[in-house]
């Protein structure tokens, strides 16, 4: 039952990615609506998996790597749906839904064993750490999709070779503004998640911040610094456009990498 529901969600995202892509390239009327419908089907089954799993484990979806990955992917889709509804950026799905699919695909390789939530007086900290980081991450996923779109469009306008994508993509300024909005939501949450995680780690292991596993932590620090640069650069130093888009694309790749190493 759970396997079926899981597969429905995963396959829906794969299908929706393909449909969005077909719409992006061929502009077949109706395919866009179909893709959004497919995402909704995926999201419903995805929600069901998280509900079933939580009922079984008796705690929220953030204890094992598998749970975190499933929850991460779920939030990416939820935030995508909100953005789609609120800002109506056509074609964003082509760049964001594949991310949700890939995370779920990754989750299938993880152990589905049920682990009890670590009993400790600091469990609130851990819950906070994971929830905040994951919401922040979902916002970054949107910024990533928008960033890719920006870079495609910027390249076309700058090089004066206006291909098909030039007609499809929204204006540079609106993409730039939205990237900033997504990062402005993601960065503070992610920072809080980062801090609570660090505090939890120190309290648990009674160790200093610097004794953490460096391999796991470095990409995360780099990602965090990148987003910090994007956030403060845009809001304080007037950085715009390409820099911001590149930052949000590279930042996402590093954070994604670190999460794979981390959880």
């Amino acid at each position: 039952m759970k396997i079926i529901t899981f597969n429905i969600a995963m396959i829906s995202y794969l299908l929706a990615s393909l449909e969005y892509f077909i719409y992006l390239v061929y502009r077949k009327p109706g395919v866009s609506t179909l893709a959004t419908g497919t995402v909704v089907v995926g999201l419903l089954s995805h929600t069901a998996i998280i509900g079933l799993r939580s009922q079984e484990t008796g705690h929220g979806p953030y204890t094992t790597s598998f749970e975190v990955a499933v929850f991460l992917s779920w939030l990416v889709v939820v935030v995508y749906c909100f953005t789609h509804w609120r800002y109506k950026i056509k074609d964003l799905g082509s760049f964001v839904i594949p991310v949700a699919f890939l995370i779920l695909l990754y989750a299938t390789f993880l152990s589905k064993e049920i682990v009890n939530f670590p009993e400790s007086q600091f469990r609130v900290l851990l819950t906070l750490h994971r929830t905040l980081s994951i919401i922040g991450f979902a916002a970054f996923a949107i910024a990533f999709g928008l960033g890719v779109m920006y870079l495609i469009q910027e390249k076309q306008v700058k090089s004066k070779k206006l291909g098909m994508m030039y007609f499809r993509m929204p204006s540079l300024e609106s993409l730039d503004n939205l990237i900033y909005k997504a990062v402005a939501v993601g960065f503070p949450l992610f920072t809080l998640g980062f801090l609570t995680g660090a505090i939890w780690n120190i309290k648990m292991s009674q160790a200093s911040l610097f004794s953490l596993d460096l391999v796991a932590i470095w990409p995360l620090v780099i990602g965090w610094v990148l987003y910090g640069l994007v956030f403060f650069g845009r809001s304080r130093m007037g950085w715009r456009g390409k820099k911001i888009a590149q930052g949000s694309v590279i930042g996402f790749v590093t954070v994604m990498l670190s999460i794979l190493l981390h959880v």
Binding site: V157, K158, L162, L172, E173, G238, R240, G241
Partner: protein, 424 residues
């Protein structure tokens, strides 16, 4: 297959030079006169004239296509008093379903000089409503033109034929809309008062731009243009310090050297916190240093760049035109089916066949019982029943043939087929 007897004779920008086309043009008044004349020819049942600067065409339903085409060609020559042998090689003529296809291509703007331009559809519509008010069109031409409008709409919606910009100023507007979120809150600055710059500015204003600055070496010219554009004039020496206020800069001065340099733009972009700037250099020789395009968040297009955008878009339209031809083929065969359905002949044949079958059945039944009759008597009975059937069917046949020439034709055909069970 039924014959629609539709023909079209005409000249267009592809077959005829403008010197000749302008001599052949019909004005609204002369259309009234000509259609009346055309209607008086026994060969011509319905007619309609389209006259634009790129084409002069007469669409007609005739009773003999070859004679009809000759008649229309001669008419055009006579009306404009041009010798036939001078015009003959420029004419094109289509018959039957080629006429349908030709009109669909014309109204969908596939036959236009700039494929996909939207003006032609309006011109065809005007020609149609004029013909309708003059009552020179009937059932077939009306249906043909109504269909042509819906085909044009369909093609516009389902293909990208009219999607991209195909003039310098519309390409500039399109680019501006891909750089900026909405044009309303943005500012344009004209440096120099060239005609093309004015055109581009007007185009941008029609998309919502509200704030306009005009700078020119002659301040009076700047003021005059600023007035027409509802903007404000700038002193020419001043525009450099005001540059950062503008989002879109259109330059068209006659200056021999670059008047906007990379350094100036660098300062401006810094002052405006890296908000994007779009430079359009329409001047020849160019006004803006090409290296300006290397700056981040700055986009520079000169006249050649815009022209190549236009060319690429035109090529794109040609591709879309192939898609549109597919739609036209389908619609042409649909129209043919409609013409077929109008034809009374098959229905009349079936009706007579049905009556004849009944007559033969019944007379044979009777004759079987009346064995005493001689062959001669039997023959007389056959003749009598045949003539009853013929008499009964004569009027309906004639009326049906007449009615199928009118708008109610199909209703009559349907009623007959239904009442006599011809479709079972």
């Amino acid at each position: 297959m039924a014959e629609s007897n539709l023909v079209i004779v005409g000249v267009n920008h592809k077959t005829t030079p403008v010197e000749l086309r302008e001599k052949l043009a019909f004005t609204k008044g002369s259309i009234e006169e000509s259609t009346e004349k055309l209607g008086s020819f026994p060969e011509v049942d319905e007619n309609l004239i389209i006259s634009t600067c790129n084409r002069v065409e007469i669409y007609a339903r005739v009773n003999d296509v070859d004679k009809g085409i000759d008649r229309l060609k001669k008419f055009i020559c006579d009306f404009h008093m041009i010798p036939y042998n001078m015009l003959d090689k420029h004419f094109y003529a289509f018959r039957e379903e080629e006429t349908v296809q030709h009109l669909f291509r014309v109204s969908s703007s596939l036959d236009s000089m700039v494929v996909g331009e939207s003006q032609i559809l309006g011109q065809v519509k005007d020609a149609y409503s004029l013909a309708k008010s003059l009552q020179t069109t009937g059932l077939i031409l009306n249906q043909l033109f109504e269909k042509a409008f819906s085909v044009a709409k369909k093609i516009r919606e389902e293909t990208g034929i009219a999607e991209s910009a195909v003039s310098i100023s519309s390409a500039a507007v399109e680019l501006a809309r891909k750089i900026f979120e909405d044009l309303e809150s943005h500012t344009i600055m004209l440096v120099g008062t060239g005609e093309m710059a004015e055109l581009a500015a007007k185009h941008l204003i029609s998309y919502g731009v509200k704030t306009v600055y005009v700078a020119s070496r002659t301040y009076e010219r700047a003021t005059a243009l600023a007035k027409t554009l509802n903007g404000s004039a700038l002193d020419f020496e001043h525009f450099k310090t005001e540059l950062h206020k503008a989002d879109i800069i259109i330059s068209s001065t006659a200056a021999p050297k670059f008047i906007i340099t990379k350094e100036m733009v660098q300062t401006a972009i810094h002052e405006r916190n890296n908000r994007p700037m779009f430079f359009i250099d329409i001047a020849v020789p160019r006004d803006i240093e090409p290296e300006v395009n290397d700056l981040e968040n700055v986009y520079l297009y000169d006249i050649d760049d815009l022209q190549s955008v236009v060319n690429a878009n035109l090529q794109e339209r040609e591709k879309e035109a192939e898609l549109a031809m597919g739609i036209i083929q389908t619609e042409v065969s649909k129209f043919n089916n409609w013409v077929d359905s109008l034809d009374a002949v098959p229905t009349i044949v079936e009706l007579r066949k049905r009556a004849e079958t009944i007559r033969v059945q019944e007379i044979q039944k009777t004759l079987r019982k009346m064995t005493h009759l001689s062959d001669e008597d039997k023959n007389s009975l056959h003749l009598m029943t045949s003539s009853i059937v013929n008499k009964i069917l004569h009027k309906p046949t004639v009326n049906l043939k007449k009615k199928t020439q009118t708008a109610e034709g199909r209703t009559y055909l349907k009623a007959i087929r239904h009442l006599f069970h011809l479709d079972d």
